[in-house]
Symmetry: C2
Subunit: 456 residues, 2 copies
């Protein structure tokens, strides 16, 4: 059933309390769609409907719910219901839950989780925030090199049922060190008597350590077309795996974070429509205040040239165009470089290459914009509109454009790389920040050329 139809049908049937039909419909739907339906259901209907689902499906739906709905459901669960849901969860999802819930709910969760689960949750939560350890699953299948293919298949059948994935199997030695990987496909295509050590791939095994940044893990998925990635401790012992669905979530949220930072917003984990007005406000206002204060600097430059502007009022009219073009040129460069850094396409060692390239691009852009602006002032402003703009003013404007565009692109491409080098987030060096700097540069250029060439 399509998601939209599902939402309408379930809401309708819940209203009419037709639980028998509801049970059939829900148990035939996708967990991801059902989670979205729960988001829109009236709060008092949720516990009733949750109980209609089969255990396994209920757990799958539970994982996908919004935090506040998870909390509401847990509070409505009996102890047995809570234990049932917890035991169906994968450890990484259970650890997420513990991280997200308020303290009193966490206490109840840990009380009703099995001792094994509790131990694994605590282990995962020991790793740094945003580390690979935090998103790994500790339930994976490990084989020994001395097993036969047939033995391995039997072993997987016996132990693999509650594992998140069996697409890739990990081969470890006696000290639990990762020594090879076998795809389920290679296993299927082998003779039953073949030893795992002859089937496994030992070349270029991709892995991260528990403390590596989760972004590093996500980029490996992209680079090596993986569906799972091994996670080891710092001694190379296998402790978990990251699955591709979690890597995709990391990629998308890192891209969103970069975009938000580029627009001078403190990143938030929640979808826009789920964020309260005050939260959205608090993510945006510090940057607006900061940038407003730094724009004051630009105002001071203008104030100190008040005399020049009074002597030649026509100059004022070009200020917005110069500032905007400078800002746009700078953010084109900075945004390109920031994205390149995020995708691991540009490193600090490329700084010279980047700067030299931006210099040439900016010369081309600057020359063309200057020429266009000069022609436009002469043709449109002077001839057509008959404004009182002298050729010398047109020349000053064009010269300022050229130098501003070059400066903007150099600043825009260099700052993110420098930020990366000193350990800051390159994305923060994007448009608004660079605009503020470029504004000042363009005005200083403008008044410099004006004072020399127009002798004011």
């Amino acid at each position: 059933m399509e998601y939209i139809t599902l939402e309408k049908t379930v809401t309708q049937l819940a209203q009419e309390k037709k639980y028998k039909i509801l049970r059939d419909i829900m148990n035939a739907a996708s967990a991801f769609d059902l989670a979205d339906v729960f988001d829109t259901l009236p709060a008092d209907k949720r516990p009733v409907l949750f109980r209609l689902m089969k255990k396994e499906l209920a757990a799958q739906v539970f994982v996908e719910l919004q935090d506040d709905i998870k909390e509401q459901l847990i509070r409505s669960f009996s102890d047995k219901e809570l234990a049932d849901v917890l035991n169906e969860l994968y450890v990484d999802d259970a650890a997420d839950l513990v991280e997200e819930m308020p303290a009193n709910v966490v206490k109840r969760i840990l009380l009703h989780a099995s001792p094994d689960m509790r131990k694994m949750i605590n282990e995962i939560l020991r790793y740094p925030e945003d580390s690979a350890g935090r998103i790994m699953n500790t339930e994976y299948i490990s084989l020994r090199a001395t097993m036969t293919a047939e033995h391995a298949v039997t072993y997987i059948r016996q132990t693999g049922f509650d594992k998140e994935t069996v697409n890739t199997l990990y081969v470890i030695d006696k000290s639990r060190k990762l020594i090879g990987v076998v795809s389920i496909r290679a296993l299927l295509f082998s003779d039953g008597g073949e030893l795992i050590e002859n089937i496994m791939d030992t070349n270029a095994i991709q892995s991260v350590t528990t403390v590596d940044d989760r972004e590093v893990a996500a980029l490996l998925f992209e680079r090596y077309d993986l569906t799972e990635l091994a996670v080891t401790d710092t001694e190379g012992r296998l402790v978990g795996i990251v699955t591709v669905d979690d890597a995709i979530d990391v990629m998308q949220s890192e891209a969103t974070e970069d975009i938000e930072k580029m627009a001078a917003i403190t990143p938030s984990d929640k979808p826009y429509l789920k964020t309260s007005v005050f939260e959205t406000f608090s993510k945006r206002i510090p940057w607006l205040l900061l940038l407003m204060v730094s724009a004051t600097f630009t105002g001071m430059i203008i104030s100190s040239f008040e005399g020049a502007l009074a002597a030649l009022p026509a100059l004022t009219a070009f200020i917005p165009m110069l500032m905007d073009t400078g800002g746009n040129s700078g953010s084109q460069a900075s945004v390109t470089v920031i994205r390149g850094i995020s995708l691991n396409e540009i490193a600090f060692s490329d700084t010279f290459k980047v700067i030299f390239k931006e210099f040439r691009v900016s010369l081309l852009c600057g020359l063309l914009l200057s020429a266009a602006s000069f022609a436009k002032i002469c043709l449109v402003d002077r001839l057509i509109m008959g404004n009182n703009v002298s050729i010398s003013v047109a020349f000053v404007v064009s010269l300022t454009l050229l130098t501003t565009v070059v400066a903007a692109k150099l600043v825009g491409s260099f700052l993110p790389l420098a930020a990366k080098k000193v350990g800051f987030d390159p994305a923060v060096m994007a448009s608004p920040f660079i605009t503020t700097i470029v504004d000042a540069v363009s005005l200083l250029n403008y008044f410099f050329f004006a004072s020399i060439l127009l002798s004011i």
Copy 2:
């Protein structure tokens, strides 16, 4: 071997012509790393080194190379070598190749591809650009509902060897309509005598049609945590699958495209460092020109209030701050909404919710910024710096800030939604475009309040 070490070692050994050691090292490395090494190798070394690799690895490396290097290698291939590489390729990669190469190379490729391969390539290239059909692989495993699990495993062993993935198996009926999916895991955990129709999942099977946008396919991977997605024709008959690695590439390139459009850059497929100076210039200059011309409008507003500015020169100094704060407020809203639309979190039907939320956020932001600006002018500009700024001017500036921030956030959130509705790309409605509009709005507000409250 780490990628950096690999690059150095291979380059060194190639220089010394130690091909025997090279063969061993290369055949033990990852195809993705080797592809990067080929990028940096001198052109004359590439054909020699390419021939050192085993057939299968060579094909994997070939797929990952840059277009110009692919072309160079194909031109160096004998007919037999070309046929060997082509026959190892998956159809989606072969179709990509045909799409990317110049006409005379394509002719040779199609001549040496097997008739089957040629037919499949042509089929894929019939689908619209950026459609799911273009990124699908036509080599997948389909089962019949009446097979037993044991029979299915034997069938997969016989036919699955050259398929890209066996993680998910597709069950079709006599007319090739998709009726269910079986994970390899479910198959492994079943009794050998069990019928596929009892193991397969028939609920909520995710699929796209060949003509759906590839972005739609990518979003399904994210929403439903898939590793493969079925592609059907418009009659529901299975024709191919999309694998998660291709979906990830789509996600990342869509995010990059959005980011580039937001910064007023025409998107490009190539990594930054691979793009020529002229190409980069040509992706940026049209937008800079367009935005420069529209900024002229702002200049005209200032020109028409030249008298007011001459009467009260202190007003000019606040123009940059008002314009920048308006622009930043607007782009915060637009960028958030654009990303929400891209991730399918915000639809046009949410317009009212979005606007109402942005209105409340903008009131909070506007009030706080106004108060801060008023306090700053009174304390810093007047008391500390002793500038000639009257309380009325401070009041005009604060009032303008409030109305500008509100207007900027409303425009910034509404325009992307409106663009989406009429079929334009929301990302184009980002910062630079909105800045231009907001600049005009803020200046008009400013002069309006100034003329009323300062009677100039």
